[in-house]
C-alpha cells in the first residue's frame, strides 16, 4: 500500500489511538491538513499555537493518553515553545507535529524556516527532523513510545513539506520502535527495597511525600494501601493533589511554599521521609541545608536522574512507583503511630483560627471564600484547571480534591495562560467531566483568545476569574520583600461580562459573597461556556508563605487573626 507522508502521519496517529488533535494550519503543514479530511480525527482549531500545546497537555493530564498538537513551520512552531517547556517540567506526554520547509531549503533561511528541533532540544524528551516519507512512520511510532514511556514528556516531530508530499509503501509493523533502554548498575545510595521496608517499619515519625508520580504510575490504590497498613501520614505536592483523596484521614494536605503550616513543620520533625514520585523541587523544600534535618530519606522515582539530585537520600529506588510499593506491601508492618499523630494534631495549633475561611463575613469577597463555595456547590467533583498565581494557591488550599486527575495546573514551569487552553483539552478528553477554570485576571488575559475556540467547539467550560486587579502573586512578593513598591503589578482588564457576550458565552460579575452561589449555579446550568468575574479583595495575601530559600518551618503566617470574642 503506497501512501503519502501526510497520509502515513494520520494513519499512524489513528493506529496510536488518537481521536482528537489541536492545531493551526499554515503553508508547510498544508499537505498534512489536506490529508486530515480522510481520517476519523477531530481537529480543534486553536487561536494560538501555544494554546494547542496546552490543550494537548490538558488532554494528557486529564486522561493519561498522549495529547497531540500540530502547527506549521517557523512562527507556528516557535509559538509552541512555552507549551512544550510546560509539558516537559510537569512530565506530561504530548506529541507536537510541525511542518518544515522542503528538505532542500533547510539551512537557507527560507520563508518561515525555523530550526525548531534545535530550539526545542533542551525542552523535549526527544525530537525528530523527518525529511522523507519513509521516515514518517518510524518517527511517529517512536515518538509515542518515548512520550508515554518511563517518565512521560513532550516529543516533537518536524516533518518537511516534501516528506509529507512524497509517497512510499506504508508498513506499520516494520516501523515498530526499537528503543535501547539501557540502565546502569545501582547508583550510590541505591539499596534493595528490603532496606526501605526496614526503615519504614522502624520509623516512629514517618511521613509520605506524594507527588505527580502517584498518578503517572497509577499507584493511587497502592499508596493508600501502604499508608493505611503502616499508619503513615501523607503530605502531597501541588501536582500530587488528587493522588490521595483530600478527605482521607491520613492525608495532611499540601506541603511547600504555600502548604499547610503543620505539614511543613511535620516534615521538619519527621524521622523518615518516604518520597514517592516527587522530585524535591525548591518550592517544596525551602532551604536545602535545613530541610528535614532529623529524617532518613527514601526516594522512589522512575527517573533515576532525580535520585540524589536536590536531596541526598538513604535509599534511592529507580522504579515505577506502583511496582515499588507493591514490592513493599507484604512486608510493611501494621503500624501504630498514635503518638506521632497526636504530635501532628498539636502542630495544627491555631491554624484553624488563622484560616480566613473561619473569619466572619465582613462584606468583602475573599478568593478563599469563592473557592470554598465553588467546592461546595460542585460537590467537590469538578475537574478544576487552575492558572498560576495567588488564585492557584487558594485553589490548592480550599478546593478539596478527592479524585485523581481532578486538578490540572502548571507546577514546574508556572506558566501563566495555561489554564484556559488546558481546560479545553481536558474537556475534550473527558466530555462528561464538569470543568472549571480558576484563573487570575492577569493569566486569563494571556490566552483569552481561546474563548473563541470554546465557542466554536461549543464546549461547556466554566471560567472563574479571580479578579483582584493585580498580578497578585507578584504584588504579594513586592508587599513582603520590596516595601510595597507595586512596580508593574496593577493590571486592568476588559469588562469580562461584555467579553463573554462578545464571544457568545454567558457571563456574570460577582461582588459579594452572597452572590457567589447563584452565579455558580447559573454557570453550571448554562449548557455552553460561562464566565464569572469574581471581583475579589484586591490586596489579599496567600498564607502561610515560606519565602524563597528560607527554612521550611519559618513561614510567614497570617498576622494577628481577627477573632470574634464575646465582647464584640
Amino acid at each position: 500500500m503506497k501512501l503519502t507522508g501526510a497520509q502515513i502521519l494520520w494513519e499512524c496517529l489513528v493506529r496510536e489511538g488518537v481521536t482528537d488533535v489541536f492545531g493551526y494550519p499554515g503553508g508547510a503543514i498544508l499537505p498534512a491538513y489536506d490529508a486530515l479530511l480522510e481520517y476519523p480525527i477531530r481537529h480543534v482549531l486553536v487561536r494560538h499555537e501555544q494554546g494547542a500545546t496546552h490543550m494537548a497537555d490538558g488532554y494528557a493530564r486529564a486522561s493519561g493518553r498522549v495529547g497531540v498538537a500540530i502547527a506549521t513551520s517557523g512562527p507556528g512552531a516557535t509559538n509552541m515553545v512555552t507549551g512544550i517547556a510546560t509539558a516537559m517540567m510537569d512530565s506530561s506526554p504530548i506529541v507536537c507535529v510541525t511542518g518544515q520547509v522542503g528538505s532542500r531549503l533547510i539551512g537557507s533561511d527560507a520563508f518561515q524556516e525555523a530550526d525548531i528541533t534545535g530550539i526545542t532540544l533542551p525542552i523535549t524528551k526527544h525530537n525528530y527532523l523527518v525529511t522523507s516519507a519513509e521516515d514518517v512512520a518510524p518517527a511517529v511510532r517512536e515518538a509515542f513510545a518515548v512520550a508515554a514511556g518511563g517518565r512521560p514528556g513532550p516529543v516533537l516531530i518536524d516533518i518537511t513539506k516534501d516528506a509529507q508530499q512524497g509517497s512510499c509503501a506504508f508498513d506499520w509493523n516494520a516501523a515498530e520502535p526499537r528503543l535501547t533502554e539501557a540502565y546502569d548498575d545501582a547508583l550510590p545510595g541505591d539499596g534493595p527495597s528490603c532496606d526501605a521496608v526496614a526503615l519504614i517499619n522502624a520509623a516512629e515519625r514517618p511521613l509520605i511525600l506524594a507527588g505527580h508520580g502517584v498518578m503517572l504510575s497509577g499507584a493511587e490504590r497502592e499508596i493508600l494501601a501502604f499508608a493505611e497498613r503502616g499508619q503513615i501520614p501523607i503530605a502531597v505536592t501541588l501536582l500530587g493533589i488528587g493522588g490521595v483523596p483530600a478527605s482521607h484521614p491520613l492525608n495532611l494536605g499540601m506541603m511547600g511554599m504555600h502548604g499547610e503550616a503543620w505539614v511543613n513543620v511535620a516534615i521538619q520533625q519527621a524521622d523518615l521521609l518516604i518520597a514517592l514520585g516527587m522530585r524535591f523541587d525548591d518550592r517544596v523544600t525551602g532551604n536545602l541545608k535545613t530541610y528535614a534535618p532529623t529524617a532518613r530519606k527514601i526516594h522512589v522515582d522512575i527517573d533515576r536522574a532525580e535520585l540524589n539530585k536536590n536531596v541526598r537520600v538513604d535509599v534511592a529506588i529507580a522504579s515505577d512507583l506502583r511496582a515499588a510499593i507493591a514490592d513493599w506491601l507484604p512486608d510493611v508492618a501494621p503500624g501504630d503511630r498514635a503518638a506521632w499523630f497526636a504530635e501532628i494534631d498539636a502542630l495544627k495549633g491555631d491554624s484553624a483560627v488563622r484560616d480566613i475561611q473561619n473569619l466572619p463575613d465582613d462584606g468583602h469577597l475573599y478568593a478563599a471564600h469563592v473557592i470554598n463555595d465553588l467546592w461546595r456547590l460542585t460537590d467537590g467533583r469538578a475537574l478544576v484547571v487552575s492558572d498560576v498565581g495567588q488564585h492557584q494557591m487558594w485553589e490548592a488550599q480550599y478546593y478539596k480534591h478527592d479524585a485523581p486527575r481532578s486538578l490540572i495546573t502548571s507546577g514546574g514551569l508556572g506558566t501563566m495562560g495555561f489554564a484556559l487552553p488546558a481546560a479545553i483539552g481536558a474537556k475534550i478528553a473527558r466530555p462528561d467531566a464538569e470543568v472549571w477554570v480558576v484563573v487570575g485576571d492577569g493569566g486569563f488575559q494571556m490566552t483569552m483568545c481561546e474563548l473563541a475556540t470554546i465557542a466554536q467547539e461549543k464546549l461547556d467550560i466554566n471560567v472563574a476569574i479571580i479578579n483582584n486587579g493585580y498580578l497578585g502573586m507578584v504584588r504579594q512578593w513586592q508587599e513582603f520583600f520590596y516595601q510595597r513598591r507595586y512596580a508593574a503589578t496593577p493590571i486592568t482588564g476588559p469588562d469580562f461580562v461584555k467579553l463573554a457576550d462578545a464571544f457568545g458565552l454567558w457571563g456574570a460579575a460577582v461582588h459579594r459573597r452572597g452572590e457567589v452561589e447563584a452565579a455558580v449555579l447559573a454557570a453550571r446550568a448554562c449548557p455552553g461556556g460561562a464566565i464569572i468575574d469574581f471581583r475579589v479583595e484586591q490586596e489579599d495575601t496567600v498564607y502561610p508563605m515560606v519565602p524563597a530559600g528560607a527554612d521550611l518551618h519559618r513561614m510567614i503566617r497570617r498576622p494577628s487573626p481577627i477573632v470574634e470574642t464575646a465582647a464584640d
Binding site: T117, G118, L121, P122, K125, H126, L129, E142, V146, G150, L179, T180, E181, A182, Y183, D184, D185, L187, P188, S217, G218, R221, E222, L224, A225, E228, R229, I302, D303, R304, A305, L307, N308, K309, R312, A318, S319, D320, R322, A323, A324, A326, L329, P330
Partner: protein
C-alpha cells in the same frame, strides 16, 4: 576544582545519526557540567559512535550525569571508566620553531618522548606525539622554550584493559498489572 571533585571519564556509545553530538553536548551545558575534553569517532560496530568525555565533577554528579545521558534516545550505553583500569591516549601535533642548533635538541627530546617528527620545514618542525595526557603535557613543557608556534590535540580517548567490555544491563522496571498486586488485606 571543587572539593570532592575529580576528573571523570565516560565512554558513551551513541547511534551514529545527525545531531547526536549536539544532544550530548547540550545536556552537559544544560545541566551545568563542564567538559574538559570530548572526542568522537567510529567504533567496531557500524552505526555506533563512541564518545570519550572527561568531566570535572563529584561522584554524585557523575552518577546523575550518567542517568541523564541514558535519557537521551540515541544513547545506547554509558560507562564511567574513571575507576576501571584503562588505557587513555591523547594525540598532539606540535609545530616548534627550530633552526640550527635547536633542531638537534628538539630531535633528541622527540626521541626521549617516543614522539615522531612528521614534517620538516625550513624554520620549524611538526611533532606527532601520542600518550597519556601527562606525557604530552610534559613534552609540551620542554618544547616551550624553543617556541611552540601551533598545537592541535585530540583530547582523551580511552578503553578499558583486558577482554571484558560487556556489562550487566538491568532492564528497567516495567509497570505491573493491577491483578499482580495483592491488596486483599487492605481497606481500599
Amino acid at each position: 576544582m571543587q572539593p570532592g571533585n575529580m576528573l571523570h571519564t565516560f565512554a558513551i556509545y551513541v547511534d551514529n545519526k545527525p545531531g547526536v553530538l549536539t544532544r550530548v553536548a547540550s545536556l552537559f551545558r544544560r545541566r551545568a557540567f563542564n567538559i574538559e575534553s570530548l572526542t568522537v569517532g567510529h567504533t567496531e560496530r557500524p552505526g555506533v559512535s563512541r564518545m570519550t568525555v572527561v568531566v570535572d565533577t563529584d561522584d554524585y554528579g557523575a552518577r546523575r550525569l550518567e542517568a541523564n545521558l541514558y535519557k537521551l534516545v540515541p544513547v545506547q550505553r554509558v560507562d564511567d571508566i574513571t575507576q576501571t583500569p584503562s588505557i587513555a591516549r591523547d594525540l598532539a601535533l606540535i609545530k616548534v620553531a627550530a633552526t640550527g642548533e635547536a633542531r638537534t635538541h628538539v630531535m633528541q627530546l622527540v626521541d626521549v618522548y617516543r614522539a615522531r617528527i612528521v614534517d620538516v620545514g625550513p624554520e620549524s618542525l611538526v611533532i606527532e606525539a601520542t600518550g597519556p595526557e601527562a606525557k604530552i603535557d610534559s613534552l609540551l613543557e620542554v618544547l616551550r622554550p624553543f617556541g611552540v608556534i601551533e598545537m592541535a590535540r585530540t583530547g582523551r580517548v580511552s578503553m578499558a584493559r583486558g577482554t571484558t567490555t560487556a556489562r550487566r544491563f538491568d532492564p528497567p522496571r516495567a509497570p505491573v498489572e493491577a491483578a499482580a498486586i495483592d491488596l486483599s488485606n487492605c481497606s481500599v
